[in-house]
Each structure stands twice: as structure tokens, then as C-alpha cells.
């Protein structure tokens, strides 16, 4: 079905659903049209539940995984709560993909990759991780830093273990507060950065996490001599329409749904409302 109207969603069917934490659930969908979503890592969709509304959600699967797309959604509002009540076979509406991508086919190629993720910031970055692993020869060393509040908030625990076991991949994790079973690192995400060795000229860094995280991570990356041109940030805003009209995601003159959510840091450094 071709959609000429920019606001009308196309149907998709929920295939699988699995709780990941108390608030986050993993979903796998396919488009009813049988077409590929055609997204790139870092992009998002507008997901509709009829009668409830529409919400912007990051795509978590890599485009290398054909036929389906995956998301991890935190239950915080009307749409995400309604989504959590759906079961396999249920329908949702989909618009998109929208927004910019992590530059996996551009400047990231041939480089070492440093990914700094906080909380559900891992969700869109996972798309890039799996894309990189599926095209392993195109990239150098892959370092994944992942911080969550408590061990119970960790997403993709199995995949984290698989990534850790992959050669040329480093995964460092931290929690703000540990529990009895946690024997890993404790501290905010920035405490992981001194533990990694990077060659700044050969590295592309990506940051994705809660709004408060960026300025602290950026400061640490600057100390590590990372250039602003080599840092990419994925920013959260209220991307209501996805088509650069409704105004909610505006950050000074930038519509995050169009010019973002992935920005090269040097391009938004001077944008007052950005970081």
C-alpha cells in the first residue's frame, strides 16, 4: 500500500514480545506490506496504537536483519502502556523511518568505534552494534560502554555477554548502585572512560543516553583528545510529527526529527538548546 499522506500509518504486526526489565519490553514486528522498513541505525519510527495515539520510538534492530524490525519500549505514557498490553498477532500503525543515522556507512568505516550508552540509550545504538558486527571487516576495534542505574535495569543481557565474547570487541559495564549479586563496576558512566585506551585520531565516538549524561561524557572525551568532528550524539526530543512541522522537537532552529536525532557534535556545539 503506498502512502501519499504523510500522517497515515501503514499497518505492522507484532510477532514477538518479551519483558526485559520492570518497565522495558522487547518487541519484534513486521510490516504487513511485506516490504523492508529500509531504515538505518539510529533512525526512529512513529508507532500508533489505534484510539490511543502515536509515539516516536527508536529502531533497535540492524537493517542487516531482514524481514522484521525490533524495538525496546519503556512503559511511561499512554501509547507505550497500550503497546505493552498487545500480544503477538496484534496490529500497530507505523510511519517512518525518520531522522538521521549513525554514520556507519560513512565516517565510521575503517575506524575504531567507541559507543557510550546510558540506560535505554543502548536501544538505538544496538542497531549500529549489530550492523558493525555483521560487517565486521569494515570497522576497527569496537568498544561499548554501558551504564544503568541498577543491575536490574540492564537491557540485552544475553547480547552483552555475546558481544563481550567477540574478538576485537570490548564491553565495559557500570551501575550507579550495585546489589548483592553485582560484582562489576559501580559508578556513573564517565568513570568507565579512563579505563579505555583509544587512539583519538582513529576513533569515532557515539553518545546516547539520558539528557543529563551528554555534557559530562563530552567533557571526558575532550580530555581524551577526541575531536568534536569525531563525536556523534543521538538526542532525545518530543518528536511528535516526524516530518519537521509540529514544532515540538525544535532545538533552536533545528527540527530534531529531521536534522537529528543523530548529530555530529561539532555541528550542534553552538546550538544553545542542544546539550
Amino acid at each position: 500500500m503506498s502512502n501519499q499522506d504523510i500522517y497515515v500509518p501503514q499497518p505492522a504486526t507484532l510477532l514477538k514480545k518479551q519483558p526485559m526489565t520492570e518497565y522495558e519490553t522487547f518487541y519484534e514486528f513486521k510490516l504487513d506490506s511485506g516490504c523492508e522498513l529500509g531504515h538505518g541505525p539510529g533512525q526512529f519510527l512513529e508507532i500508533s496504537v489505534p484510539g490511543i495515539g502515536e509515539a516516536p520510538i527508536s529502531i533497535s534492530s540492524s537493517p542487516t536483519q531482514a524481514g522484521i524490525f525490533q524495538m525496546v519500549v519503556r512503559r511511561v505514557g499512554n501509547v507505550t502502556t497500550a503497546l505493552s498490553k498487545l500480544g503477538p498477532g496484534d496490529k500497530v500503525g507505523v510511519r517512518g523511518p525518520f531522522g538521521t543515522k549513525f554514520p556507519v556507512d560513512e565516517v565510521m568505516k575503517g575506524k575504531d568505534i567507541l559507543l557510550v550508552c546510558g540506560g535505554i540509550g543502548l536501544v538505538p545504538v544496538r542497531s549500529a552494534i549489530n550492523y558493525i558486527l555483521d560487517n565486521r571487516r569494515d570497522y576497527g576495534r569496537l568498544t561499548i560502554l554501558y551504564g544503568v542505574k541498577t543491575p536490574a535495569d540492564r537491557l540485552f543481557a544475553e547480547e552483552l555477554a555475546q558481544w563481550k565474547a567477540t574478538p576485537e570487541v570490548t564491553v565495559l559495564e557500570t551501575v550507579d548502585r550495585g546489589d548483592e549479586a553485582w560484582d562489576g563496576h559501580v559508578g556513573v558512566i564517565t568513570t568507565l572512560l579512563p579505563l579505555v585506551q583509544i587512539n583519538p585520531a582513529q576513533t569515532i565516538a557515539v553518545i546516547c543516553g539520558p539528557p543529563v549524561m551528554y555534557r559530562f561524557v563530552l567533557k571526558e572525551l575532550a580530555k581524551m583528545a577526541m575531536e568534536d568532528e569525531s563525536i556523534f550524539v543521538s538526542l532525545e526530543r518530543r518528536m511528535k510529527c516526524g516530518v519537521g512541522k509540529c514544532g515540538h522537537c525544535q532545538m533552536n532552529d533545528l527540527y530534531v526529527c529531521q536534522k537529528g536525532p543523530v548529530f555530529k557534535y561539532s555541528e550542534i556545539k553552538e546550538v544553545m538548546e542542544a546539550i
Binding site: 500508533s48 511511561v76 539528557p211 518530543r238 515540538h248 532552529d253 538548546e273
Partner: protein
């Protein structure tokens, strides 16, 4: 020489203008119903004008001051259904929007500019079908108004129009000088040709006098030349904090603005809880939750940051995107602000000029 859009042929300049006696105007408006529904300014309450359908052309106020809402309401309604859905069948592509032809009489130059700014916003990569379906069916008959103490279109370069209308009227003594802007405008005149007469040398003389007089009537001046740069330099100015304390976050300025276009989208279920509509409604960046995300973080929690965003979007960032401010100087926000915020004073303060505080109302 003028240029006819229909034929592409050059037509002599004097054929582009006509004169209609004031006594003939209501007859002309009545006759326009052959072409579509006719709308124009009427007096809603004493001194408060609104655009309304002219079921009786005698209600039209030919010299109305600014209407409460700008004509954008005919292209981009305050609330509209985007499409229907059903929980069983999903989302249904909308039937085409109301494509009935509308004729809008008495549109002031600032509002004609306002529409051309909305055209830019709703075009682009994601072309807005509802807006342009209506736009294509809108006939505009402009009116050369006289400014009051709240108009600053002169400073915004929107006091005059060369295009964006089908016909454009300027008051002479007991008649109007009619400029024909499009082939459609030509048709409107042609259909009731007996109401119009050719332009005489005397008309031209009078027209020039009127236009020159009007230029001298603008009392408000905003220096636009380097305003974006000065605003950028004053991003951290105390003025914004002060405005944040004054502003009530009511969004009236956005609702009445000819170029404010932000919107909210939500679903409404029918009583059967099976079917429903997705609705789009005007929103305002002044509202508290405008930039709040689902997780609870509000990117513009402070009222001052919201007021500032509105000013900067109009005067700085819109210029970067589209090459001109999105403000057209119509004075509606100044008229409607319950807190008496006057943006002309705000710009003066930002420039470091002395402001004599006076009530906006």
C-alpha cells in the same frame, strides 16, 4: 507590461487595473458567490472584527482593522481530523479534504504575506496535503488597509504586496483602485465587468497620493537589519527572565499569529470504542508541556525559555531557514496579550534603547 498567468501573453499594463465604485462593491461580492463561498471581515463585537462567511454581503466591513484570527484558519483549521481508524481495520487514508472554493475578501497585505510564509512551512520534503488542497481553492481579494498604533508591517517589509492575491483593492475617494493579480482575478472582474470602469489619469494621481500618504502613517518602527545578530548576542539577557515573569503562558499570541503553525496530534475514540479519529489541533510553544518528553524531562521547563524560544524562532532561526522573519508585523499578539507584552518594546530593550512603558491595550 503585465504578464497573464493563464495565457503567458503580455498584456498592456492599463488592463491590469480597474476602478470599482464603493456603491458597487456589495453587488460585486454578492456576484462572487457564482465562484464559491465568500468570506470577509465582519464586526463580531464593537471594534472586534472576524473573518466570517458573508451570507449577507451588507455585513462586510470594508475598512475593518485586523481581524482577531488571521485567514490561516481557512487553510489550517484550529482543529481537524487527519484520518479515521478502526481497531479492527486499522488506519484509513482520508477522504480528500473539503475542496470547496473559498473567496476571501479584505485580506490585508500583512496577512497575504502570512499565507505565503505558511506556504513555505507546509511545502518541502513533507508536503502537507490538507493545507495545499485548500490553498489551491482559495481566491484572495486583498485590501490596502491603513495602519493603527500597533501595526509594524512597514518594518517587517510586509506592508505591501506585489503577489499572493487575485485582486487587490486600494481606497480612492468613493471608489477602489483594483489591481488584477492573476488570471483568476481577471475572470472575477470579467464576470461582472459592468461594475468596473477603466482607470483615468485622475485615478492614478489619486492612487499615488493615497499610497504615499499611507507610507507616512506608520508610527512603529522596528530596526530589522541586524536584529537576528543582536538577539543572538543577547541570548543570556536579563530581558528574557523578566519576560518569563510577565508572560502567563496562555498561548494567545500563537493562536492569533498569522504564521504560528505548531500543532498537537491526538486520538479520539467514538462511543463504540471501535472507531475514531486522529485529530490535529493548534498548539503553542508557550505551553508548559510543549517540549516535555515521555520520560518526564522538560527541555523548556522555565517559562522564560519558552518565551525566548518563540521570539528566537520568529526573528532569528526562521530567518536562517527561510530567509526572512516569520513575523509579519500585524500587531495581533500585541493586541491580545493579557500581560501587555509588546514585542516592539522587547526589541527596543534588547537593542538597549529606552522604552517608555505604556499599556498595550
Amino acid at each position: 507590461m503585465g504578464h497573464s498567468e493563464l495565457t503567458g501573453e503580455l498584456i498592456p499594463r492599463h488592463l491590469n487595473v480597474r476602478v470599482i465604485a464603493k456603491d458597487n462593491l456589495e453587488t460585486f461580492l454578492g456576484g462572487l458567490r457564482e465562484f464559491g463561498e465568500v468570506f470577509g471581515p465582519v464586526e463580531k463585537e464593537r471594534g472586534a472584527y472576524i473573518y466570517a462567511q458573508l451570507t449577507d454581503v451588507k455585513n462586510v466591513v470594508q475598512d475593518a482593522q485586523r481581524t482577531v484570527l488571521p485567514p490561516k484558519k481557512y487553510l489550517y483549521p484550529q482543529k481537524e481530523e487527519l484520518f479515521r481508524f478502526s481497531t479492527q481495520e486499522g488506519y484509513r487514508k482520508p477522504e480528500s479534504v473539503d475542496k470547496g472554493r473559498k473567496i476571501l475578501f479584505g485580506v490585508h497585505p500583512c496577512d497575504i504575506h502570512g499565507l505565503s510564509i505558511l506556504d513555505k512551512v507546509f511545502a518541502g520534503r513533507y508536503h502537507e496535503p490538507r493545507y495545499f488542497d485548500r490553498r489551491d481553492n482559495l481566491i484572495i481579494i486583498g485590501m490596502n488597509c491603513l495602519p493603527d498604533e500597533r501595526c509594524f508591517c512597514y518594518s517587517m517589509g510586509t506592508d505591501w504586496v506585489e503577489k499572493g492575491f487575485d485582486l487587490f483593492l486600494t481606497e480612492l475617494e468613493d471608489s477602489y483602485f483594483v489591481k488584477i493579480g492573476t488570471s483568476c482575478g481577471e475572470d472575477l472582474v470579467h464576470a461582472q465587468a459592468e461594475l468596473f470602469r477603466p482607470v483615468t489619469d485622475e485615478d492614478i494621481q489619486l492612487y499615488k497620493e493615497r499610497v504615499n500618504e499611507r507610507n507616512k502613517m506608520f508610527v512603529n518602527r522596528v530596526e530589522l537589519a541586524n536584529l537576528p545578530q543582536i538577539l543572538e548576542l543577547e541570548y543570556e539577557s536579563e530581558v528574557w527572565e523578566e519576560l518569563g515573569r510577565k508572560c502567563l503562558s496562555c498561548g494567545a499570541c500563537s493562536a492569533v499569529c498569522p504564521t504560528c503553525y505548531c500543532y498537537e496530534v491526538y486520538d479520539v475514540l467514538d462511543l463504540n470504542v471501535e472507531t475514531g479519529s486522529r485529530i490535529r489541533r493548534w498548539d503553542a510553544c508557550l505551553f508548559k508541556d510543549f517540549a516535555k518528553v515521555a520520560g518526564g524531562h522538560n527541555f523548556r521547563e522555565e517559562r522564560s525559555t519558552r518565551v525566548k524560544h518563540r521570539f528566537y524562532h520568529k526573528q532569528v532561526t526562521f530567518v536562517e531557514e527561510f530567509g526572512r522573519p516569520s513575523c509579519v508585523g500585524c500587531g495581533r499578539c500585541v493586541t491580545q496579550c493579557p500581560a501587555g507584552i509588546n514585542l516592539i518594546d522587547v526589541f527596543k530593550e534588547i537593542r538597549g534603547e529606552k522604552v517608555v512603558h505604556k499599556s498595550a491595550r
